[in-house]
Amino acid sequence: MTFLDKIDKVIRREIRIWARRPIYFLGSVAVMAFCTVFYLTFLQDGVPSDVPIAVVDRDNSSISRNFCRQLDATQLGKVVHYSTFAEAEADLQGGRVTSICLIPEGFARDIQAQRQPTFSFYINGLYFLGGSLAWKDILTMVNLTAGAVQREVLQMKGVPESQIYGLLRPVDIDIHQIGNPTMNYGAYLANMMIPGMLQMVVIIVLIYSLGAELKYGTSRHLLEAVDHDIYAAVSGKMALYTVLFTLIGWTIEVILYKWMHFPLAGSLSQMLLGCFLLVVASESVAVLIIGCVPVCRFALSIGALYSVLGLSLTGFTLPVEAMPTGLRGLTAMYPLRHYYDLYVQVGIFGSGFGEWYPQVIALLLFCFLPFLVLPRLGRAYTYLDYERN
């Protein structure tokens, strides 16, 4: 029996198990379908709009009313009026509004008399995205309101119209967002969250597939089918799951970059390669875990702990350099971390292979991990000498 025959046998056997136990299908295909639908529909707007901004207008003048109208007219903000600050503060603490603008009494009068009234705004920074966007929105509107007043003053002083803009705004910034020009929050998160979920699902399902043989004592049956060749047994399973999860991953990448048109500077084929490597590397991690701890339940618990933490340690939200020094090195033990680096090169900068080959090598290095534990897993499969539950 050649090695390929053995692998063929294992694959046929695994497909029979799949047909008998719906949990495999639910745990892989159904879970990934749900996650893809969730992250793409939940964040479909890209940038939140109409976040509630409280306004306590103690002045109620034409200037303050105009300010409220302008703020309300921005895409981001929606003004909610409060009569007292205490009510607004309660809703700020309760997270029902993102921020409070406090317009003091005599605001318009003081502006006209050049007494420089103070405008205060409060932000709830615990609701991060809403809070920081409201901060930016209000700051812009305050500057525009102040600018409008200054413009009137300058006009009254007789400054020619052609010079006014230069006087009001001597310096300006031209902002270029490389890799995500529309600041699409949905694209930013979905790009990494969905592959992150793929890494999690690959690890959990493969650990379960290998661990279930131990748990139900079917591992000897598996080994007999392949002449006691643990390499063939594991390779067979990995081959089937590689095909399955790569297909799932590729479908997701095509949805992300072709159907949703998320920004991608490089070519799709490069991302497909990265996705394939992510799947293979994650499988290798799964084999390592079940090989080190050949008890289905323990291995699953470790796999769960490892993969949930992986979403944070990848560093696409809080960058790795902001983590404690001792943790930075540990991030390298996640395939997703290298996939993210690869995505940054391909998706954001559109670099060639020369820039991202280190990530390919890193992901390929993961493939050596199973060889460390396969003999041990083979012994566990033969003797079944670990506790089963």
Binding site: F42, G130, G131, V171, D172, S301, L309, E355
Partner: protein, 417 residues
Amino acid sequence: MKGIEYAKQWVRDALGIFNLELRNILHDGGVMIIFVVAGFLYPILYNFVYRNGILEDTPIAVVDDAACSDTRRMIREMDATREINIAYRCTDMNEARTLLQQRKVNGIVYFPSDFGDRLAAKETATFSIYADMSSFLYYKNLLMGSEFVMLHEINSIKVERLSLDGLTDQEADATVNTVRYEDINPYNRAFSYGIFLISAILMLIIQQVMFYGMGMSVGTMREENRSFASLPDTYSGRGVGRVVLGRGAVYWLLFMTIGIYVGCIVPAMFGFPQRGSFWDILLLLALFVTVCVFFSMTWTTLVTRRESAFLLFLFMSPVLVFLTGFSWPTTAFPAFWKYFSYLFPSTFGCQAFINLNTAGAPLAVVAPQLRALCIQGGVYYILACVAVYVENFALKNKARGDRGLVEVRAEGATSSR
């Protein structure tokens, strides 16, 4: 008299079930590992990862084609901000772009050659920033740092020009700064990523640990052909309520311990803001843990094997983080996901904890969340009872069916003989 007898019997039965469940949990190494390791370790791990939580001194490359005193001053000012660190000064954009691509810098500031001339001509001088969007925090830092500098520059340039036009300093200041503003961010002063994330996920950890642990325990019973719902025959009472409450009390006590650790001790250990009153938080925990118990009891009914909880529901943890609404604002939720989020106690528990503990809100402010938790608790209690009832019903039918099958087989055996 009958009422008292019934109450006594009720308490005896509930205590019996309590003891049984407690013994089950304590004897199950796997469940204990989840409760102890995950419940105690996870909050520490997350606090450790997000301990700094603030990205400072993002490295930037500068391309200064204007090379005048104004741009040199602005570059110095940018370097002095907390957000930006001028790491490289490049001679042209190609060099800066290479550095960006090699990820030695996370942004570029470019001053065009006419920048100084335009300032001198009293026109608007524009400079460009290029932000690497691979993490939005890079962009935020670059934007905030350069915007501070720009606003500062605008003010001083305007005052300087107006002074040249013959205004006194005070007049010029009053003309330029028609409105003064102050921005106050009382609960998270530095926009720390850690403070915002940790306060949101602490409650979620309680719910998820309980769910996976209970799922494993229920799955084990199923595998061993016992059922979590069946009453031992020795007990004369057969009420559904005492099964649910007796079993629930075990988890409730266990998770109040874990809850106090997660909600009160862990924040103190890491110097995390604790602005709420201890008793308010204890009240929230008591309510939240109760709802979590009924929630887990309801949904773990679907678990048939020891490991299924991980395979089928692990992916929900990150999803639930988003559904708490602390990152993507609740008002921007698509309608379907908004109602979907009402299924989970974590949605309201996390919001209430953020508001009470980190924002220091009084109890009245979180009344809507507490009310929602009460409703959830009621609904999930009823569902948990229904689950036990249905399970018992199914068990009895199955027992009857099995007996029938045995009789049929026995008959078949005799007739063939």
